[in-house]
Amino acid sequence: MSDTEKTTQPGDGPDLPDSTDAAGTGAAQPSQEPSPRRAWAQAARQATDDTPAPPPMNPYMAGVFLGLTLLASYLILGAGLGASGAFARLGAWIEHLVLPARVEASAYFGPWFPAPLSYYLVFMAVGVFAGGLLSAVAGKRVRLMVERGPTATRKIRLIFTLIGGVLVGFASRLAMGCTSGQALSGGALLLTGSFVFMGCLFATGYLTAWAFRRQWR
């Protein structure tokens, strides 16, 4: 892993001299080059280039396609897109491996048994992974690495992302959905709760992001 990471690091943009570029898009660049020399050359080009390569698609058009996917989901499934539900189901399944009786008797996970994974959102998450994989492979954007700022340590980044994941996992259950299942899917239906969720999400995100900025430096 570390080997792979080393060879790919130039393309990640951490070597950019201007580290104020907190969210440089270098990571998304199609830079998995067959030859190390070309990769280095590209990294060098980037390092001197103030305008890194754009994301693979115009975000507005990506948004329109995403919206059409969501619309199709509503018209076919009758339910929106969602992601966190699958991971909660996975959590229920994993907890069941360890404490079967406790989980089956629990108030929240309990009703999902006996088959917590035969659930449409679990299959949707598998689809998300497959779709992401296909697109990333086709665009040569697959890179094994810990994405972080140029001077940030891997450790700090992983600690932050782990805690962030725990908070997101918990909050997604409380709010009955995440950015996709609650904010986007519910927002498209003009549901009040989804806009409340979205408002609180972005408000606290902006308020607290400053505290976590070091992982992107």
């Binding site: 990571a27 499934l77 992601a83 629990s106 108030a107 035969s118 779709g131 997101v168």
Partner: protein, 683 residues
Amino acid sequence: MIATLYSTGQLNAPIGLACALALGFCFGLCLEKAGFGSSRRLAGVFYLTDMSVVKVMFSALVTAALGLVAAERMGAVSLDALYLMPTILGAHAVGGVIFGVGFAMGGWCPGTAAVGVASGRVDALVFLIGVVAGSIGYNEAFPSIAPLASWGSRGVAFLHQSLNVTQDQLVLGLTGMAVIMFWFSEVIERGPAIARPGVSRLFLAGFSVVLCVGALVALNVPRIDLPLAPAKVPATALSPTQSAPGATPGDAVLSEVQTGRDHIEPLELARRIMERDATLTLVDIRTKQEFDAFHLPGAQNVPMSELPTALAPKRGQGVIVIYSNGMTHPAQARDALARMGFGNVYILTGGLKDFFEAVLKPASLREGPQSPETVAAINKARSFFLPAELAKPATPALLTPPGRLPGLVDAAWLKDNLGKSGLKVIDLRPQPQYNSGHIPGSFALNLESLRGNVGGLPSMLLPAPLLAQHLGQMGLTPRDLVVIVAGEAPHDATLAAMALERLGHSRYALLSGGMKAWSAAGLPTDKNLPKASPTRYPAPDGPDGFTVTGIEVNAAMAGGKAVIIDVRPADYYNGTKSDEARAGHIPGAVNRPFTDDQADAPDGSKRLKPEADLAKAYAALIPSKDHPVVVHCRTGHQASQTWWVLTRLLGYTNVKYYDAGWTEWAARPEWPAVTTQTQEKKP
């Protein structure tokens, strides 16, 4: 109208899972193409360096919202066919706050992290491990945070309703705001070394116009009446166990009502309660008083007005069953909840009334024969659901005297049990005597009203349906313990007993010594008339199994095996006295006058002789307990006593009752008759 998989309950069926997989694939493709396989790009939104999240999210939101508004206004899809998440202000606000921190910290959200893992991002994998752990943490914390999870429940609330604007205004406002946000994003992104997608002003201007025009079009599409797609309800009836968050069959309330999918049958509910089904939430919406008197185990008492709040944590969680005594209120509550997005609410078919009838009614009161398995299941359910004192194998409040039934009871026992429910005392004395004082609560019954002319034969015990109707007018039910009180003659009591025997009613006893014993003991009497509401006493089908006709007796006589006992006084048997067409008796019949079975008690009442004496006397006449025996007298009155003594006291099993008796036999000259003189002439 599109019948969505959610509305047909197929969301988690193979077709639903396949569609979800395909849609997820497109979803992942879009996220990756938007550049969301990178946490730095995602986190950039919070540092105002890369606003892709806002651009993608609001483009998608507005696109889908316009599409949904248009589809609904065209009549292509009904909101009932969509899974509408309820608004729970507390849960959404607090969830949003925590989510915001987690998003800023982790740089991922669950969907994008899945794409991140596909793109090889280790931090995405670690983030997802955190999401899984956080979900488990939520499950563990759920019991203590359940109030928060339901705090501020508003049911399904639309933003335009909450803001008190029209849907058109909201959609236009939202579109406008999205456009403004896009331009703002492009402006603030501009800065040194900021990675921006190559979007020109021209493109953004065009996109803004397209969105606004799209909004106007979507809001003004004409309604097109599409043919109703046939609902693809799966052949296998949808079991409530399949219900899960977002997957419950909860689309068109009316179609569910029509198909009865909103019901749960009493037996199914009983099974789930007895198996302590953790997915079951049982709600009793009766008054607290009724709830305290009796409720199903595990039920919570929730007034109807508080249902949405109380049930919010259970929305989409397992199966919610609402019950009351009947079905009207639960049905109304269920409809209201379904419209608030509760897809997992069921009502108990027939309410508690049907539950008692189907689950708790004792086997002994059910129509038709019950298999031992059924009886065992009923008894198990009874001991589970009913308080201990009611759940005993005997039916609730079933009064049973000491000794066997049918049998004899004494005055002291009757006095002690007087007034208990299920006890019916029947007084056979003539009305003047009854009117001037009777056992409190006893019913007067004219013995002769049980007999009549049947097929030309006088003084026959009436057929079962007439007896059932007759006794039903006194409020008799099959559960009742009947105590028959004669003036004093035991054969009066036994004649009434024959009527009960014909009905198959074995829960009766004769009061030893009759009214005379009661009075002699100085027990209380009164002159009040009892109250009773008539019942429909079930009449048994077919013959009673113990009454035989003259033709059958003739055959028995000819066969010579059966013991025919003529219970009339000896002079009638001998032929020296006669009130009939002919004097004498049936050839071969033995005489055992019914009076020989009676004795005077010390209190002056007439009673049956002690069992031991009777057993000895009859053992001399009848070879064995299962030997065929026919008893008769003149009209069936006296013979009822002998029949009763033989079968109910002494345990003879094959005793037939020739009801028509000598009245019929004597009137049929073709049937032989002998007097003692002629018999003595025989060698």
